[in-house]
Amino acid sequence: MDLELAPEHSTFRAAVRELAQGVVRPLAVEVDRDHRFPQEAIRAAAESGLMGVLIPREYGGAGLDALAFAICIEELAQACASTAVIVDVHTSVGTEPILLFGDEEQKKRWLPRLASGELLGAFALTEPASGSDAAALKTTARRSGDGYVLNGTKTFITNVGHAGLYVVFARTGPDERAAGVTAFLVPAGSVGLRVGQVFDKMGLNGSPTGELVLEDVEVPAANRLGAEGKGFVVAMRALDSGRIGISGQGLGIAQAAVDEARVLMRDRGHDQGDDFTLADMATRVESARLLAYHAAWLCGRGRPFTRQASMAKLHCTDTAMQVTVDALQIAGEEGARAGSPFERHMRDAKALQIYEGSNQVQRIVIARELVNTG
């Protein structure tokens, strides 16, 4: 048993931290205030190889493991949660489906461009009427000649409008549930593909979230990811590792809140009431970090990690919410003013309890395994 990071992970963390604190963090306030995409941050991340963390070297990526991915998102989120989720969605649910389920030609065609950051990835599963119940999706993919024609509306799509490639889930078969779902790679610029409404949100303002509308979008068979009817498997596996990334994001936001509260308390003095709150905050973050790293460690070794990823996502994001509320309480009025990192962290943290499977869905995943297997 050794619960310290190996030297290669520590070195990687230090490198990401330098970028995050040097380039990403100075943009965070403005990105939030102006609701603008942090283009410079994403470009810098791409130049440092962070858009291809999980992609093998032969396809132009860094070839690192899930633990490095969690660390990468954690460090970015400490600086700017919007930037973190853009990179997270790109890396996990936007890219991993190709990595895990793509054929050699698909990998060769798409992965190098995703790894370099030339293309930003996105994941289009959710629809207006199917959120937690993803298998009820309505978007259709009709066979037509050598390819498919896709119709439907996807919603809550992170990176919408900025993505170069969308992993889209649509119904190909007669089965009305999971077995009828197939995954497709749909490049931006496809005829009939357009961005619908882009939402104003309470947080993560630098990360665009909105609708993706598909109207008779022709997709060649070469862009079908995996077999017909296997799309739901692709989605669930992508979400499992996506949850590791979101755990990292929760950790980063929570750690930033702890650190900012510490600095503030040191500067202005502190009494025991706030000391105790800070101790509980830091303890919770520490417990959450190990849960996330454990899930990532299992994933990296090819072991089952679904339950651990759900536990990590649940605990890290509930922790982020709790800790950011507590930090703002310590900060007081100053912390509640627009532009303060305290109020931004709190607004950003809320999304994490909802997306990538709401925390209620995580509890269902965990409980199902407990009840079925003990």
């Binding site: 048993m1 050794d2 619960l3 310290e4 990071l5 190996a6 992970h9 633990l67 702890v258 510490r262 308390m265 040191r266 502190h270 025991q272 000391d275 105790f276 800070l278 101790a279 509980d280 830091a282 303890t283 919770r284 520490e286 417990s287 959450a288 190990l290 849960l291 790293y293 454990h294 460690w297 299992l298 651990q308 536990m311 649940l314 605990h315 209620q360 995580q362 509890r363 269902i364 995943v365 965990i366 409980a367 199902r368 407990l370 009840v371 003990g374």
Partner: protein, 379 residues
């Protein structure tokens, strides 16, 4: 990073798990009800080398690793918290010797503890000095080649059955923390008096004694470290023992959860197992997640003990705080999951809930842990 126990540790764990299942679990309810110290289980642990876990081989033990100690405590506590203290306090009472003893002292004092021929105990608290340990009144006065000790020690786990007792006392009349020294008392040559045994809410099979020292003579060769080094030793010991209490809390919670999980799968209401209700399922998910998070913190702290990490004090306090608060919540929820049956003594979870409470109090209350953590963060 490596989240797994070594093959050797797994082998030790499996041995303990089997012994606990066969010999400890069937006795747990009775131990609690009678409030009698389970001498038979002490023998069982001694005979199977479990009491040797806190000691390296050169002092007659089998490990000395904090990770292994925690693993052992956790396994035993799943069935019986009182019995888990037999190992936990053997470690606690021996740490001062292992941390601050000379080579001669370790070679002389440890083997009978490692073999289980003697039980160790640790006497720091006094009636008037609990969290404020430095305010202790017990005094040690030097006369030639020995010290004479006088004072009263409070809440001494195993104080009534121990053969070896580490006592902290003032050797300097200034009476602050710089005047505290540590001594090893051996019952045959430095006998102490057991004034009373406490009646307690939980861990009822683990005797908690008030001890009176009246002109107890201790040879100078049984002083640990220098005069005045006692408080430092006490703090170093707490850094090492707190992960163990975290492990105990973890084990109690796991024991209660295993029972409750099984129960909700069997118990049928409204035509289905109550495990099928989402309200119950969410409780199960939260409990399992909290246990898992605690486990990592406890073993992280244990690896930091073994690796002598510079941030050990903070992490050990975090592990103890988080795991014990978790155990209190989880055991309370487990009683809730069993409903009325959870509240009666025919079922084990009410005992586990009572046992959990002390983990928030001893080895530094959780308020003290927060003070320690905040101090480390704000330094």
């Amino acid at each position: 990073m490596d989240f797994e126990f070594s093959a050797e540790q797994v082998a030790i764990r499996d041995t303990i798990r089997e012994l606990v299942q066969d010999r400890v679990a069937p006795r747990a309810a009775e131990i609690d009800q009678t409030g009698e110290y389970p001498k038979d289980i002490e023998r069982l642990f001694a005979d199977n080398g479990i009491l040797g876990i806190p000691f390296p081989e050169e002092y007659g033990g089998i490990s000395g690793s904090s990770v292994t100690i925690c693993m052992g405590i956790e396994e035993i506590a799943k069935a019986c918290a009182s019995s888990s203290l037999i190992l936990a306090v053997q470690a606690l009472g021996s740490y001062p010797i292992l941390v601050a003893g000379s080579e001669e002292q370790k070679k002389r004092l440890c083997p009978p503890l490692a073999s289980g021929d003697k039980v160790a105990a640790y006497a720091l608290s006094e009636p008037g000095s609990g969290s404020d340990a430095a305010a202790m009144q017990t005094r040690a006065t030097k006369h030639g080649s020995e010290y004479v000790l006088n004072g009263t020690k409070q809440f001494i786990t195993h104080g009534s059955i121990a053969g070896t007792l580490v006592v902290f006392a003032q050797t300097d009349p200034r009476e602050d923390h710089r005047g505290i020294s540590a001594f090893v008392l051996e019952r045959e040559t430095s006998p102490w008096k057991v004034e009373k045994l406490e009646h307690k809410l939980g861990i009822r099979g683990s005797p908690t004694a008030q001890i009176v020292l009246e002109d107890v003579k201790v040879p100078v060769s049984n002083r640990l470290g220098e005069e005045g080094a006692g408080f430092k030793i006490a703090l170093a010991v707490l850094d090492r023992s707190r992960p163990g209490i975290g492990a105990q809390a973890l084990g109690i919670a796991e024991g209660a959860f295993a029972y409750a999980l099984n129960y909700v799968k069997e118990r049928r209401q409204f035509g289905q197992a109550i495990a099928a209700f989402q309200g119950i399922q969410f409780m199960l998910a939260d409990i399992a997640t909290q246990i898992e998070a605690s486990r990592h913190l406890v073993y992280q702290a244990a690896t930091k003990v073994d690796g002598k990490a510079p941030d050990l004090t903070k992490v050990a306090a975090m592990a103890k705080l988080f795991a014990s608060d978790m155990a209190m919540r989880v055991t309370t929820d487990c009683v809730q999951l069993l409903g009325g049956y959870g509240y009666i003594s025919d079922y084990p979870v009410e005992r586990m809930m009572r046992d959990a409470k002390i983990t928030q109090i001893y080895e530094g209350t959780n308020q003290i842990q927060r003070v320690v953590i905040a101090r480390a963060l704000l330094r």
